[in-house]
Each structure stands twice: as structure tokens, then as C-alpha cells.
């Protein structure tokens, strides 16, 4: 579903699935709830994702909640055009910090 790596003190989650929907949203919720506890600064690389539905949106929101409860920050980058349009339509861009590239996202954490 995703791979993780730590760069300085930033946890980089790279999604490896192209769809996040009712079929895998619970797996995403369970697996991310564990990893986001380890690092307060989390980045999710969304470039592989081409489709997301309401359950997928709920899963990413719940990941953000877990991160906030851990006093951390969750940011997203490299969102594909279709997913980005949906994120904008449902106003997710007002909830998440969204960046175009990995460099911009890292820079926002002060790690240029």
C-alpha cells in the first residue's frame, strides 16, 4: 500500500496504490495510524494515486487527525490532476498543506 523512509526528521510516506477507496481505506487507516506516531513531521507522496473516493478521503482525514493528536504535521505533495481537482472541490486544500513537488514540501518543513 505504501513505503516509508525517514529523511532527517521527516517521515516520507509514498503511496504505491493507484486507488484509495472502500476496498483498502481501512488498511490505510490502520497502517498509517501506527507509522505517524513515530514522527511528528509527515509527508505523503500522492503521485501514484489516480482515483480516490469518499472512503479514501475519510482515510486521509483520519490520518491527519492521528497526526494532529500526536502534535505532528501532515503535508501532501505531487497530487495527480484528477485527485487534485477532487481535493479542491471538496475543499481539502483548506485542511491539508498541499505542495506541487517534494522539494517544495521539504522546504516547507525547513529542510531545503
Amino acid at each position: 500500500m505504501f513505503t516509508t523512509e525517514t529523511n532527517n526528521d521527516i517521515l516520507l510516506i509514498t503511496l504505491t496504490v493507484d486507488v484509495l477507496d472502500a476496498s483498502n481505506n481501512n488498511d490505510f487507516k490502520d497502517q498509517t495510524s501506527e507509522v505517524v506516531k513515530q514522527q511528528p513531521k509527515v509527508l505523503i507522496d500522492m503521485s501514484a494515486l489516480t482515483f480516490i473516493d469518499s472512503s479514501g478521503l475519510g482515510a486521509i482525514l483520519s490520518c491527519l487527525r492521528n497526526c494532529n493528536e500526536n502534535k505532528g504535521k501532515l503535508k501532501l505533495f505531487a497530487i495527480s490532476k484528477t485527485v487534485r481537482t477532487l481535493f479542491e472541490l471538496v475543499r481539502m486544500h483548506k485542511v491539508f498543506d498541499i505542495y506541487n513537488t517534494k522539494e517544495e514540501a521539504l522546504a516547507s518543513f525547513g529542510a531545503k
Binding site: S54, G58, E88, L89, R91
Partner: protein, 479 residues
């Protein structure tokens, strides 16, 4: 050279229009205002643009695309709020650039190519920065750390300044009317009007139906595909954007009419902005939404398709209800005999879609056999007997739909966060909901995700998909 256009999209002075448009997308003489800004910057020789967006960014991104249409390169940056708008300047790599043109969406000053320069305007008897400046790329990280126009302006104080008199502004309704007037009176010549000037000060676009009884006084601009009925008076300083219909004996003076607006019979519109059924009087600074379509209306809706779908849905609900009457009566009997507690639950809900103004919300009562707090925990069969069957009567009356967002009363809708409420009120109430069919958790995140997703993706196909899935759950099982 590169331009950064800060376009967060909000204007506190235009709340009603701002609900539907990011302010830079407000129509202005045949184009969104932002397009005029972009084209004037292109004329200065800039081809690389960065946009900083917050409110309704999809409308801007979808309209302008990647910029190839203008032979340019557009990059869009999203920020959570207006306060964060300038922070992006620290993240973008400006290393290849020497000079950056920093621009703001609400203003269009007439400027020239400079090395470094800050532009101010005289507004309400004081000089203020209009958000436009030529700056060294090195300045960008410093500006990114500052919040607010005035702080940034203070930081730029050592850069040469000039106060410009030739500019357009759409920061308020009055400014929008005033700017339209400036262009029509040729006080701002650099703006390209895509229409033919048939007489001095009268611009007419293609395919306009204009009877001989129409009286037009200059200056006026009439967009393409407009239809005028008999005896209409256009009394100067009027902009009528594309696709409008004006009914007979109406008089329009010092006004802007947005695209696809319908203006009813014998109306006298003066010092106003009309956007479909929204009327803004700049003289009294009043904005209202008109409920009656025969006064002011929206020509953008696919009325016939919607009416047919609605009629089909109501007829189907009536047939189903009649078919289910024995089941309905049996359910009442069984509940009377075996349930401890009330059989009927009556809940008030707001009819959707509805207007932004809370005073225009209409409520209705829904009778069911279950408390609404327990709906999402019901098995599919219980949901069918306790909620779906009794709700059919409401669907048949046209007060509800088969599929939609869950019904909420006025207080519940009022208490929703602003963006959630905006999406909710633009949707429709239904018995079958995305949250129920997809068995989403009862957390705030899942409820928001399901309602927002439904609100933006609803359509015949989506409704059919959810209805079939629901039917499958009723007949077979639900996870």
C-alpha cells in the same frame, strides 16, 4: 522574468458573489478579470506565471489550464488561507530569475517594465499599495515571512514608488461598477474588448437579438448571444455579459449583468450588479437572492433534464409507496405490538438545494420509524423498513430524493463549518446516503468526506450506482 499573481479569491466586501466566484474570476467585459490581468502581464513580455490560490481554486485551474493557450507556463500553488498566501514565495525556486512581478488579483494597474518599483493607488483619501511591484528575486524569502499588505509594503519602502491613477479594481461592488465605467468611457485604453464598436461607446458582440424598439445610450457593452425583447432602454454605463435574456420594457442604467442572467419584465435596474438571481445594489450596499425566477433567474441550469429526472423520481416513489403500503402498515402494527417506546419519529429538515441566506431556507418534516441518530447503525433490512419505505411519501411529494445527503434541521445546518455548509446546501437531501451505503464510520472526518464527495460528484449515474448498491445490501447483506 516571472510573475507571481496572488489570487486567494476572497473579498470581504463582496460576500454574496464570493460564495460562487473567487473574485479574480468575476466576469469583466467578456472575460474573467484575471484573464485581463494575465494578458496585460503577457504584453510586458512575461511568460512564466505562478498563481497562489485558496478559494475555489478549481475554477481558476480548470479555466486557465497549463497556460499553453497563451503560449505561457502556469503553475498553481494552493494555500490553506489568505494569511498564508505570501508564504509560497519562500518555497518556489526563483534562482533563475532576476526580476519578479508581484501582482494581486483584485487590481489591474497600467504599468511598464521596470527593474524594481512599487505601485500605489489613492483609495478613500489615502495612498495604499495595490499589491503590484517589480522586485528582485532575492526579496522573496523576506516577503514570505511577513503577514498582511501593510507589513509587506513597509518592507518595500526603500524601493522606488509611484502612485498610479490608471487602474482597475474589483475589490468591492462599487469598484467593479466603477472599473467597468472607466473602460466603457475609454479611461483605461489598454484593455482589449472583444466586441465591435458599432457607434462611439457602444460595443456589440456577435449573435445579439436586438429589436428596433431597443434604445441604447452610450457607453454600453453587450456580450454575445444576448436576447432583448421589445421596448428596452439601456441608459449608459451598462455591461451585459454573454447569454443574457432581457424581457420587455426593462430599463438598465449604470449596471453590470453577469453571464446567463434572466431579467424579467418591466424591471428598472439602476446602480446594480445582477448575477443570475442575485441582485446587488451598490448605492445601498445591499445584496439579495431573488427566489422568484420570473423576476431574475439563472439560464445556466439544464431545466428540462432536471424536471424530467425529478418527475421520473417522484412517479417511481409514488408507485413504490403504493406497492409498499401493506409493508408500511404491517411495520406499524409490529412496532406497536413489540417496540417499547415511540413508533413514529418526526424530524424537521431543510429543503435542499437552498440559498445562502438562512432566511430563505424552507423546512419540512420527515416521518420515520427510527431515531435519526441510529440510522447509520441499522442493518440494511431495518433501514429499508424503518426509513426507506416511510420516506417514499416525501420523495413522491418532491420534498426529498432517493439518493442524497442526510437531512438536517436548520440548527444543524447553521452549525456546520462554512465550507461544509456551502457544499451541503448546494446538494440534495436523500434517503439513501453515501455514508450509509459505503458503511463509513460515524466520525466527523468520514461524515464530511462522504457528504462533500457526494455534493461534488452527484449526478444520475452516481445516484443509480448508490441505489443499486443499496438494493443489493437490502436483498443480500451489508458488511
Amino acid at each position: 522574468m516571472r510573475a507571481v499573481i496572488v489570487a486567494p479569491g476572497y473579498s470581504e466586501k463582496m460576500p454574496l458573489l464570493n460564495e460562487y466566484y473567487p473574485i479574480s474570476m468575476v466576469p469583466f467585459l467578456g472575460k474573467p478579470f484575471l484573464q485581463h490581468i494575465i494578458e496585460s502581464i503577457i504584453n510586458l513580455g512575461i511568460q512564466k506565471f505562478d498563481f497562489v490560490l485558496t478559494h475555489l481554486p478549481e475554477t481558476i485551474e480548470n479555466f486557465f489550464g497549463d497556460g499553453k493557450r497563451w503560449g505561457c507556463e502556469f503553475t498553481f500553488h494552493l494555500v490553506k488561507s489568505v494569511e498564508n498566501a505570501y508564504q509560497v514565495l519562500d518555497l518556489v525556486d526563483f534562482s533563475e530569475e532576476e526580476t519578479i512581478l508581484l501582482a494581486h488579483e483584485a487590481y489591474l494597474p497600467q504599468i511598464q517594465l521596470e527593474d524594481t518599483h512599487v505601485y500605489c493607488i489613492n483609495s478613500q483619501d489615502r495612498t495604499a499599495w495595490c499589491g503590484w511591484a517589480w522586485l528582485n528575486a532575492e526579496k522573496m524569502p523576506d516577503i514570505a515571512k511577513l503577514h498582511g499588505f501593510e507589513k509587506i509594503h513597509e518592507h518595500l519602502i526603500d524601493i522606488p514608488h509611484s502612485t498610479i491613477t490608471k487602474y482597475l479594481s474589483i475589490i468591492s461592488y462599487a469598484d467593479l461598477l466603477d472599473s467597468a465605467k472607466k473602460v466603457l468611457n475609454k479611461d483605461f485604453e489598454s484593455l482589449l474588448i472583444n466586441a465591435k464598436e458599432i457607434e462611439p461607446g457602444i460595443w456589440l458582440s456577435r449573435n445579439v437579438v436586438l429589436p428596433s424598439s431597443t434604445k441604447i445610450k452610450a457607453p454600453a457593452y453587450i456580450g454575445e448571444n444576448c436576447r432583448f425583447d421589445q421596448n428596452i432602454h439601456v441608459n449608459g454605463n451598462v455591461v451585459i455579459e454573454e447569454g443574457c435574456i432581457i424581457e420587455e420594457k426593462s430599463t438598465i442604467e449604470n449596471a453590470v449583468v453577469f453571464p446567463k442572467s434572466y431579467i424579467g419584465e418591466a424591471l428598472d435596474l439602476k446602480n446594480v450588479i445582477v448575477d443570475k438571481n442575485r441582485l446587488i445594489n451598490t448605492e445601498f450596499d445591499a445584496e439579495i437572492e431573488i427566489v422568484d425566477d420570473f423576476i431574475l433567474g439563472n439560464l445556466n441550469n439544464n431545466v428540462l433534464k432536471k424536471t424530467l429526472l425529478r418527475a421520473f423520481s417522484r412517479a417511481l416513489a409514488l408507485v413504490l409507496f403504493l406497492f409498499c403500503v401493506p409493508l408500511f402498515l404491517t411495520t406499524i402494527l409490529v412496532l406497536k405490538l413489540f417496540r417499547k417506546g415511540p413508533v413514529f419519529f418526526r424530524n424537521s429538515y431543510v429543503l435542499l438545494p437552498t440559498k445562502r441566506d438562512e432566511n430563505l431556507w424552507q423546512s419540512c418534516k420527515l416521518t420515520s420509524f427510527c431515531p435519526k441518530e441510529s440510522i447509520n447503525t441499522l442493518s440494511a433490512q431495518s433501514h429499508f423498513f424503518l426509513l426507506f419505505v416511510p420516506s417514499l411519501w416525501q420523495v413522491a411529494k418532491g420534498k426529498m430524493h432517493f439518493v442524497g445527503v442526510p437531512p438536517r434541521n436548520k440548527d444543524e445546518v447553521k452549525n456546520l463549518p462554512k465550507d461544509w455548509r456551502s457544499l451541503y446546501t448546494s446538494s440534495k437531501c436523500g434517503v439513501i446516503t453515501e455514508q450509509y451505503v459505503k458503511s463509513l464510520a460515524n466520525t466527523k472526518e468520514d461524515i464530511y468526506a462522504s457528504e462533500a464527495f457526494y455534493a461534488v460528484s452527484a449526478g444520475f449515474k452516481q445516484d443509480l450506482r448508490l441505489a443499486i448498491k443499496y438494493l443489493g445490501q437490502v436483498i443480500f447483506f451489508r458488511k
